[in-house]
């Protein structure tokens, strides 16, 4: 019987180190593994004994692409322990810095990591040789996201200005106003990105997913909301660990996050879009309608359009926040830390990022649990790969391999974040 093996030792254009092995015998998949061989880093262990105020600086180091998400989930968890609710301008500024991270991360993924798949290039630098203006524009758009994080966070990677209770300081109004004009340009560039992304060739591939995302009564979710799904889930984030579990998968010896029924679920831009379309800004809804991109979208390859729509939203929301900001605000609020257990769940660019901490009356962390989005999507990614191979088993090997890599990149996996759920296997040269 004819057999073929697809082996990608080192997945490119994802953050971190992962690999893919598919064994096909005849017309059947014999084995399929999406593996991660990123070394363990033990954040949950060394957070024990650290002061609660250190959590945002330490957890930011889990990921260079989405440090704001780690900072936001941790500050919200700590504030929940202290019974503090952040309102008004500080809350808006937290949304603003999240806008910056979404713009930066989404544009990086859309143009530099994912677009080459659709256009048949190995990387964005090759695209730049044929279409320099497209890549230059993408870099300028990405830069505006980074500049928001830079201004409010101090630097784009591992920002230093986020603290439990608010910010260490707030830059001057004028500096934000300088961003405003550029953000208006960015919003137009993002609208164009949606039109461009919607015109890409998408493989015929749909699936009945359980999409999971935060949902807030008044706004598109960044930091707060209940956890909901299209299959009837609607819980407070403190119920997360009663509804999602880590499972031991025999074929890969890997721990995957699954729902109550033991099934995979889907987090990220497509999940947020499907569950929160009505909370997008009017402009973001309009452009979605214009290109015929409306929920429910069940083709994971179209997540690139959801990222583009969310980039429009993030530009729009950043403009709204800067326009309406009261700049004479104290950067943070003071409170007492009584100790206890707290939960934080925010929408990282790649999906929900869950944190739980137990803090003692002395302010020291006694235990920590962190579940990054890529860990949650991992089982879903593997199922997509399985279904895709089943459907397109007769594609030429090289084409199938590239499509499978692309199917993984649909989720923009951040493997550096995801390590602690997975068996560490070494097959890299």
């Amino acid at each position: 019987m004819k057999s073929k093996t697809i082996k990608v030792d080192y997945l490119a254009r994802v953050e971190g180190e992962g690999s893919l092995v598919v064994n096909i015998k005849g017309n059947k998949i014999k084995d399929l593994k999406f593996k991660i061989f990123e070394p363990p880093r033990f954040f949950e262990a060394f957070l024990i004994g650290r002061h609660y105020t250190e959590a945002p600086d330490i957890t930011a180091r889990i990921c260079g692409i989405c440090p704001i998400a780690y900072q936001m989930s941790s500050v919200h968890a700590m504030e929940r322990i202290a019974g503090v609710k952040i309102e008004g301008p500080i809350r808006d500024l937290r949304r603003l810095i999240y806008c910056g991270e979404w713009i930066e991360s989404h544009v990086l993924h859309i143009y530099l990591l994912h677009a080459p798949d659709f256009l048949g290039y190995e990387d964005a630098l090759q695209i730049a040789k044929d279409h320099p203006d497209v890549v230059k524009k993408a870099l300028e758009l990405k830069k505006i996201g980074n500049d928001i994080v830079n201004l409010l966070g101090g630097r784009e990677i591992h920002p230093i200005n986020v603290r439990v209770g608010g910010f260490y300081s707030i830059p001057s109004k004028n500096e934000f106003l300088l961003l405003l004009e550029r953000l208006k340009w960015a919003r137009d560039a993002a609208l164009e990105t949606v039109r461009w992304a919607a015109s890409l060739p998408f493989p015929d591939f749909d699936f009945d997913y359980e999409f999971v995302a935060l949902r807030h009564p008044d706004e598109y979710p960044f930091n707060e909301g209940r956890l909901v799904s299209n299959k009837g889930l609607d819980i407070d984030i403190s119920e997360y660990e009663n509804n999602f579990f880590e499972e031991h998968i025999a074929h890969s010896n890997a721990l995957h996050s699954v729902n109550k029924k033991g099934e995979p679920y889907f987090v990220g831009p497509l999940a947020r879009f499907n569950l929160n379309f009505d909370k997008l800004s009017p402009l973001a809804q309009e452009i979605s309608k214009e290109v015929g991109f409306l929920p429910p979208v069940t083709n994971p390859f179209k997540s690139i359009i959801a990222r583009a729509v969310e980039t429009v939203y993030a530009c729009d929301e950043a403009i709204r926040i800067i326009d309406n900001m009261d700049w004479n605000t104290k950067p943070y609020i003071d409170f007492e830390m009584p100790g206890g257990i707290g939960y934080g769940c925010t929408e990282a660019p790649r999906g929900i990022l869950y944190h739980r901490y137990k803090v003692g009356p002395d302010g020291l962390i006694q235990s920590a649990k962190i579940v990054p989005p890529t860990s949650q999507n991992q089982k879903q990614i593997e199922r997509d790969l399985y279904e895709f191979v089943n459907k397109y088993i007769n594609l030429p090997k090289n084409e199938l391999q590239w499509k499978l890599e692309q199917a993984i990149r649909n989720y923009d996996p951040c493997i550096s974040c995801a390590t602690h759920f997975l068996k560490i296997e070494f097959i890299q040269e």
Binding site: H51, R61, G64, I65, P116, E140, H158, I160, Y168
Partner: protein, 261 residues
């Protein structure tokens, strides 16, 4: 930036245990990225490209620390393929945040984090690249400063010494005219003993330096600890202050160990 030879130098970017932030700094050079790509041949950079060319490489940028037996071997292969090897960031130059394991029994850490400890293959210590192979140049920071990265690349391509300051954060603070957050406001600050490079970022944002760039050469850490004691910090507070992203660098490690006893 201009190459002195006609042939483009080949650049490779390698990753060990890390958050990917330092190599991301290259993609965050939005204004300069396309120019860099014109001057060097990006021959091996998996985070950015599927196209991987084989070695040898003129310049290897290495991110991350050595934490597994496999990686301890892999770094030697990379060294053999690289004319110049430059480490980027606190993980590669000091073992990174994951070096906090070095002060504990790593088996305890494995049991806390993993359901199936037997699957985990890891070393007791997280160590910098220079513990394993010869390193031509170390660029500090958690993360590195992207403009310093461009300066270092430029310098090596043009066969000159990089112009990177080796003073302390204090000097950067004074140059910016920032009031001392420790003297004036009683904030804990590692600025006097920390290597320059961030342009005094934290004091600019009204907080004390927490040592992202690691110890400056010849730093007087014990004098600073005396000051911390006078400010009312407990021994454990001082241990934690020196145990951040550069905990395993000699100066910070020794100072934290002195207060652990």
């Amino acid at each position: 930036m201009a190459a002195t030879k006609n042939k483009k130098p080949k650049l490779a970017v390698w990753k060990f245990a890390s958050c990917d932030g330092c190599q991301l700094s290259l993609l965050d050079c939005e204004d300069e990225l396309l120019q860099v790509a014109e001057i060097v041949e990006i021959a091996n950079f998996p985070e950015a490209s599927r196209a991987i060319q084989s070695g040898p490489y003129d310049i290897s940028l290495v991110e991350g620390s050595i934490t597994t037996p496999h990686d301890a071997e892999r770094i030697h292969k990379i060294r053999r393929q690289s004319k110049v090897l430059i480490t980027i960031g606190a993980c590669a130059t000091a073992g990174g945040i994951q070096a906090l394991r070095n002060f504990k029994d790593v088996r305890e850490f494995i049991n806390i984090v993993y359901a199936n400890p037997k699957f985990i293959s890891t070393l007791q210590n997280s160590t910098p690249i220079s513990y394993h192979v010869y390193v031509d140049y170390e660029l500090r920071g958690c993360p590195i400063n992207k403009y310093q990265l461009l300066e270092v690349l430029n310098a090596f391509i043009n066969n000159r010494k990089p112009n990177i300051p080796n003073t302390s954060v204090c000097i950067e603070c004074k140059r910016k005219g920032i009031t001392c957050v420790m003297v004036a406001e009683g904030k804990v600050c590692l600025g006097p003993v920390t290597h320059a490079g961030c342009n005094a970022l934290c004091p600019t944002y009204n907080r004390g330096c927490f040592g992202c760039y690691g110890p400056k050469e010849g730093s007087n850490t014990s004098s600073l600890s005396n000051q911390f004691e006078e400010m009312g910090l407990s021994n454990y507070d001082i241990v934690r202050t020196f145990r951040g992203f550069n905990a395993y660098s000699d100066a910070f490690r020794k100072e934290s160990e002195a207060y652990e006893k």
